[in-house]
Symmetry: C3
Subunit: 303 residues, 3 copies
């Protein structure tokens, strides 16, 4: 006995003739499209389809600030003590090395990994990351290993842009990071930081955001922004500063992701959450981040 899997796009009026209908009609490409076309207004897991026909499941936030937010990625620090080792997919799994200046390259390639349901237990990147044309970005901080139906409840910080800044960067982070490569030695600080965009808080506020990081990075950044492709003193590149705009060059204590090489204290800064443990794990003293933010996944949405 054979079992077959058949994927059909079926017209609403019941004809099973594939060829007579536009497949796009039945295959929402983003949560926003799903919301607008189908009047879907419940948060939860849905299937989306890319322009090239890839079908994937992800989480839609259909209620925050008008809804229509698509989860496209999560950055999960699986081991703060692992320095660019297995699981550091948003920086490098190749060790800290100038020979691999872009590390795994995940910020600007089409490699995907993980699942929506495990997005707080492992790194997640779905095809929406490069397929969706969006205007704004939202970020959620959700404690590790939380179940999907508790994400919204347990998130302790959530913010989003509302400036439609992605219009200037070809519609998504994949393209933004083509323009601003997350690559060691691509530029210097402060001249070559990427854009800082103001954010609106949905959970938490600028102060609670700022307090997630130690007193030193707090004194060297302003909350209320999301910053892309910061560069530190030693010319290491990171991807995203978490609700802050750096005002100096020690960006490795509040920004995540990265290329494959962080010269300072090698290899101690290399990883998805680079130097969050510089003065001890979760101490929230000196340069170290709080335990709360260290043990939470960073969920990235588009709209």
């Amino acid at each position: 006995m054979a079992t077959w899997m058949i994927v059909l796009f079926v017209s609403m009026s019941g004809s099973l003739s594939l060829s007579e209908r536009e497949p796009e009609y039945f295959s929402p490409r983003s949560c926003k499209e799903l919301m607008l076309r189908y009047k879907t207004n419940e948060d939860g897991l849905y299937y989306l389809t890319t322009a090239s026909g890839v079908v994937y499941q992800t989480y839609c936030d259909m209620t925050t600030a008008g809804g229509g937010w698509t989860l496209v990625a999560s950055v999960h620090e699986n081991n703060m003590y692992g320095k660019c080792t297995t699981g550091d997919r948003w920086s490098s799994q190749q060790g800290n090395s100038p020979n691999v200046p872009e590390g795994d390259g995940s910020w600007s390639n089409t490699v995907t990994f993980g699942t929506a349901e495990a997005a707080t237990s492992d790194d997640f990147k779905n095809p929406g990351y490069y397929d969706i044309t969006a205007k704004d970005v939202a970020v959620w901080h959700v404690p590790n290993n939380e179940q999907v139906n508790r994400w919204k409840l347990t998130s302790f910080l959530r913010y989003h842009t509302d400036t439609q800044f992605l219009n200037s960067y070809k519609g998504n982070l994949y393209n933004l990071f083509k323009q601003f490569p997350v690559k060691y030695n691509i530029g210097s600080c402060p001249d070559n930081h990427g854009p800082s965009i103001p954010v609106v808080y949905d959970v938490g506020d600028a102060t609670s955001n700022h307090n997630l990081f130690g007193p030193n990075p707090r004194a060297r950044s302003k909350p209320g922004f999301i910053t892309f492709r910061p560069i530190n003193t030693e010319r290491a590149a990171m991807a995203i500063c978490l609700g802050v705009k750096p005002t100096d060059c020690d960006t490795e204590h509040s920004c995540i992701g990265g290329g494959g090489y962080f010269p300072e204290g090698s290899p101690r800064q290399c990883g998805d959450f680079p130097a969050f443990d510089w003065n001890g794990y979760g101490t929230n003293t000196g340069w170290s981040a709080s335990k709360q933010v260290t043990e939470a996944a960073v969920l990235i949405f588009y709209r």
Copy 2:
């Protein structure tokens, strides 16, 4: 009669008669449901669907002891010489370290990996592991790299519980291991072992089971049980003892999976098959397991 799987995107208000039915009717959540509702009675690969809508393919054993067994996981030792390195997804891929006491955490998170068809060539964990509510567990030992249609023929040991013990642990191993974390230093031996459940043999017997392990572990365990979350002398935690109940604290020679730290002889005991090679690879002398069990994947089923 062949079974077809069809994935449809159907409007709730559409005229397709299909859409008028309960979606659950069309999406078996376990092999047991598939058997009971559809009278499916052939072993093989089928598609199942989780409560959250994830569709996955896995193997159903529809004949053993009444059938209805769903393959939810396999533990495959890809490199007995790798000590918590890449591929040790049921212990740790982060090296042997007290800093990562739960290792990869696969026993109690929703991360999935592998495929049914490669379950004897690589680690496998599907969403059924956390999605299915079950009563009993079965274990098969199948030589590495066997094709699906030869698993039943080539398995040299198979056993299952029939006490419905999972009723006491929220219906699956995901929840059982939430209650009994596979984590270094969570408790001590022998006081904090998890449950030992008697098993019925489907292939092999208590003696052939026992003889898969060296004379030393044999003298320190009783066959005819499956034991969860044993702890060894040095407070390392493992996940499952293979058909045995330990009577002392050297559990690392017949139990599999683990947290991320095994203190004794560091890093020699860390891995999916922890110290099966303590007195040489596959020697079946002293503390070492046989080559047969060392080179076989452990397939885990629910019913």
Copy 3:
């Protein structure tokens, strides 16, 4: 109005009109079948279905030399400086070691990884690799990180066999490599090389092919062939020589993939592109390959 994804199991004798059709109609098993049955003649991404019901998306070349070519694998060197480390799925991710003579074993097992859309950014192996029964093989060299719709344009070397040689090896590389294991110490050079098959060039020619490799490997090989399972002086096994037939035993400079142990200069030769950097990265001098071939993914097709 909500959109639901519904999974149906439909009996062949059920009342749905769908079930009255031949299942093959809905599930092409290869691009060749898709072309012949559906008259599909455009290059691009399509869904295929294996005998066991696995559905996967891959790229079909429907135009070269009659069309009908299915992409089944890509070999991507993610880090030329990583010597059998994470990402070396076509050789070994376990370090250079005689204890793991077959490395990850990907050439002759059913493990799959990657996606079609990321085939030039990461290793890719789909179920077609072992499921399709084919006659010939094609190879494309495409620069890393190229988008699918630019592969054909940017490929700088493409060739295919037309001898139907796979008829002699059970129809695919999975079976060929069962017969010729990619395993350290399985044989010696030159007696135990696997088959060399002549190729026809679709892009480039024998001279441009040869010039991708340094002067030393060029002097020790003949272009115009694809060679399987070469063995080097030190008894390391590789999988595929890229458009060449070795005439001596230094095969590690123009052949890719491998078992888990390369004795010479350990660990410097171990990796998906073994010793392409022996005299420097991309120098194209001495034993080293050109930068062009070093930074291009090798796409493998069946027909």
